[in-house]
Subunit: 332 residues, 2 copies
C-alpha cells in the first residue's frame, strides 16, 4: 500500500510499504481522511522520542471497514488502545492504562496510509448523515471534550466564562466542547492573524490576539502548553478557578504558582480522552452539537510533506488539514 512515512527529522516520504498485519480482534480500515496533529509536527521535527523514524504517523482517522463481518461500515477511529483489565481501564480512566498504546507510536503504525489495522472496539460507526471529514474530527475534539469535562468536575463557584489559549483544532475543539457542555461565554486567543480571521468569519468564534490578564475567567484551557501560555493562563483565571492543560509545547515553567496558591487555582493535567469521552464526542458530532465542522482543508496524502511545511510556516488558516489517500472511496 501507499503510505507517508516519517524517515527522519524533517523528512516525509510517500512510499510503497507492506499492508498492516491484521491481528486477532483487529479490523482493517481503508483510510479516507486523516488529520495532521501538532504532535505529528512535533515528531516530524524530530522532537518526540516516543516516535522514532522510520514510522507512519497520523492518528486522526475516519474510513471504511474492509472485509470481515463489518465490511463497508463507515467508522471513526479511537486511536488509543488499552488493556481493558487494569484498575484504570475498569474504573473509567482508561487513558491512564499503563499498557496504553496509540497508533503512530511503536509498536503501532499510524494512519497516514491507505490502510490501518485496529481493534473493533476502537471503531465508532458513523451515520450516513455525517461526512467522514467531520467524523475524523472526533479525535482532536475528544481531547478538548475530556479536558472540559475533567475541569468542570473540579470547578466550584461560577461556571460562566471560559478562555481557550490556541485556536488550532485542539483549542477550537475545546471551545466547541465548552459550549456543548453548557458554558456560553467562550473566548479563544490566537496570535496568527489569518487563523484568527478564519475562526471569526467561518467558525463564528469570539477571538482575541492576546490574553487579557484580568483574572476574570472561571476556566482557562491551555491547548498550547508553552511557558508563555501557562503564564497567561495563571494570570487570567479567577480566584478559585481552573486551568485545564492539554498542550505539550514546553516541559516546564510559566505558571505563577504564588498566585495559584494564594488564589486557590487548580491545574488539571489532561492527556487524550477516555473511551467514553471519545464516544460522547462522536455522538455530539453526529447530533450536530459541535457546529458545522467545516473548518478543514483537504490535501492529497501523496502531498502530505507540503502540508507539513505549510503548517510549519504558519500559512494555514484552517484549524485542521486532512490528508486523503488517492484511492479513498470517500474523499469528504
Amino acid at each position: 500500500m501507499k503510505a507517508l512515512v516519517y524517515t527522519g527529522p524533517e523528512q516525509l516520504s510517500y512510499l510503497d510499504v507492506p499492508p498492516p498485519t491484521v491481528g486477532e480482534g483487529d479490523h482493517l480500515v481503508r483510510v479516507c481522511c486523516v488529520g495532521i496533529c501538532g504532535s505529528d509536527m512535533h515528531a516530524y521535527l524530530g522532537h518526540d522520542d516516543r516516535r522514532p523514524a522510520p514510522l507512519i504517523l497520523g492518528h486522526e482517522v475516519a474510513g471504511v471497514i474492509e472485509g470481515g463481518p463489518r465490511d463497508g461500515e463507515r467508522v471513526t477511529v479511537n486511536p488509543l488502545v488499552t488493556c481493558g483489565t487494569c484498575p484504570a481501564c475498569r474504573e473509567g480512566y482508561d487513558n491512564l492504562c499503563p499498557k496504553r498504546q496509540i497508533i503512530s507510536m511503536p509498536p503501532r503504525e499510524g494512519g497516514f496510509a491507505e490502510f490501518l489495522a485496529i481493534p473493533g472496539t476502537n471503531l465508532v460507526k458513523v451515520p450516513d448523515t455525517v461526512s467522514l471529514s467531520q467524523a475524523a474530527l472526533a479525535e482532536p475534539i475528544a481531547c478538548g471534550w475530556h479536558t472540559v469535562r475533567r475541569s468542570l468536575a473540579v470547578l466550584y463557584g461560577a461556571h460562566n466564562r471560559a478562555l481557550v489559549l490556541g485556536g488550532g483544532a485542539i483549542g477550537l475543539g475545546a471551545a466547541l466542547s465548552l459550549k456543548a457542555q453548557g458554558i456560553d461565554d467562550v473566548t479563544i486567543v490566537e496570535p496568527n492573524p489569518a487563523r484568527r480571521t478564519y475562526l471569526i468569519d467561518v467558525c463564528s468564534q469570539t477571538v482575541l490576539e492576546t490574553a487579557p490578564e484580568n483574572g476574570l475567567f472561571d476556566l482557562v484551557i491551555d491547548g498550547v502548553g508553552y511557558t508563555s501560555t501557562r503564564a497567561a493562563a495563571s494570570a487570567c483565571v479567577r480566584p478559585g478557578g481552573v486551568i485545564g492543560h492539554i498542550g505539550l509545547g514546553e516541559d516546564q515553567g510559566g505558571l505563577d504558582i504564588r498566585r495559584m496558591t494564594l488564589q486557590e487555582v487548580t491545574f488539571v493535567g489532561t492527556y487524550t480522552y477516555t473511551a467514553e469521552d471519545f464516544r460522547q464526542t462522536a455522538h455530539a458530532i453526529f447530533e450536530q452539537r459541535l457546529g458545522a465542522l467545516d473548518w478543514t482543508d483537504h490535501r492529497s496524502l501523496a502531498d502530505g510533506g507540503g502540508a507539513f511545511e505549510d503548517i510549519r510556516n504558519g500559512a494555514v488558516a484552517e484549524p485542521k488539514i486532512l490528508l486523503v489517500p488517492t484511492a479513498a472511496p470517500e474523499r469528504n
Copy 2:
C-alpha cells in the same frame, strides 16, 4: 500593653504599645499562646511585601476573652476576617473573599502581644479538657485540613497512600489531617535530622529524609513550596494523582508539567481554610482525633526574637514554638 514588634528586616523589639482598639462586633482576647509560623519568619526576614514594618506579627492565637458578655471564655482564634456577604463568603469558600483580612497584616495587628481585638464570629470556644497550647494549633492544622479536604475532593481512583513534604507544623498538621480524613498510609519527608527524629520518636510518624521518586503516591501535599519540593511532588505522585500545594517558599518553577499532562496529575493551590474548615479542625482537636498535640516548645513572648533566630538556624526540633506573654492567665 507589651508586644513583640517587627520594626524592620531581622529586627524584633519587645515594646510598650497602646492596647488594640476594640471595634463594633470585636472582642478583646487576652493572648495565652501564639505560634510562630513560617510566614512570620518570611516577614521577619523582610521578604513579605504584605507585612511592612512596624507591625505586630503572629496569627496562631488561643486565649481568654476579656470583658463583655463572653468574659472569661477560653477560645481559639480564626485569624481570617471576611466580609460575609460576597459570593465567595455566601457559597462557602470565604477564604477567597476579595475583602479578606488576616491578623498580622495591615490593617489588622497580630497576636504577638498581650491583647488582640477580633470579631466574635472568629472565636471558637475551647472545652475545659483541652489546653490552650493544643487549641492554638487549630490555625496551622486547619491549613493542612483544608488542603486535604480540597485534594481528596478532586482525587479519583485509589485513596490509599499519601506523602507530605515538610515536617513543620503545616506538614505534620496535614499528615494528622490525612489520617483523620481516612488516609492511613502517610509518609512525611523532612530533611532536618533533629526534626525527623522528633517526628518519629515523639509524634509516631513515618518519616523519610528525601522523597522517593517512584510515582506511587495517590496524593502529595507540598507544605514547603520550593522549586525542589514541587519537583519531588510531580515525580512521586501517581498517574491521575493530586498535588495539594500549601507552601509559599518560591513563586515559580519545579513542576514537571510534561509528566503532569501525560499522566493527568492535578495541582490544587490552597491558601488558609474556610471558616467551616477551621471549625472542623478545632472540633477534631477537641475530640482528640489529631493525636496528643504535644509537639510544641514554649518560650516567653519577651524572648521571641531568640526563638526566631533558633528557627532560622534550624535548631528547633519541635514543629511549633508557642510564645507566651508574661501575664497570660494560662501558660499551657
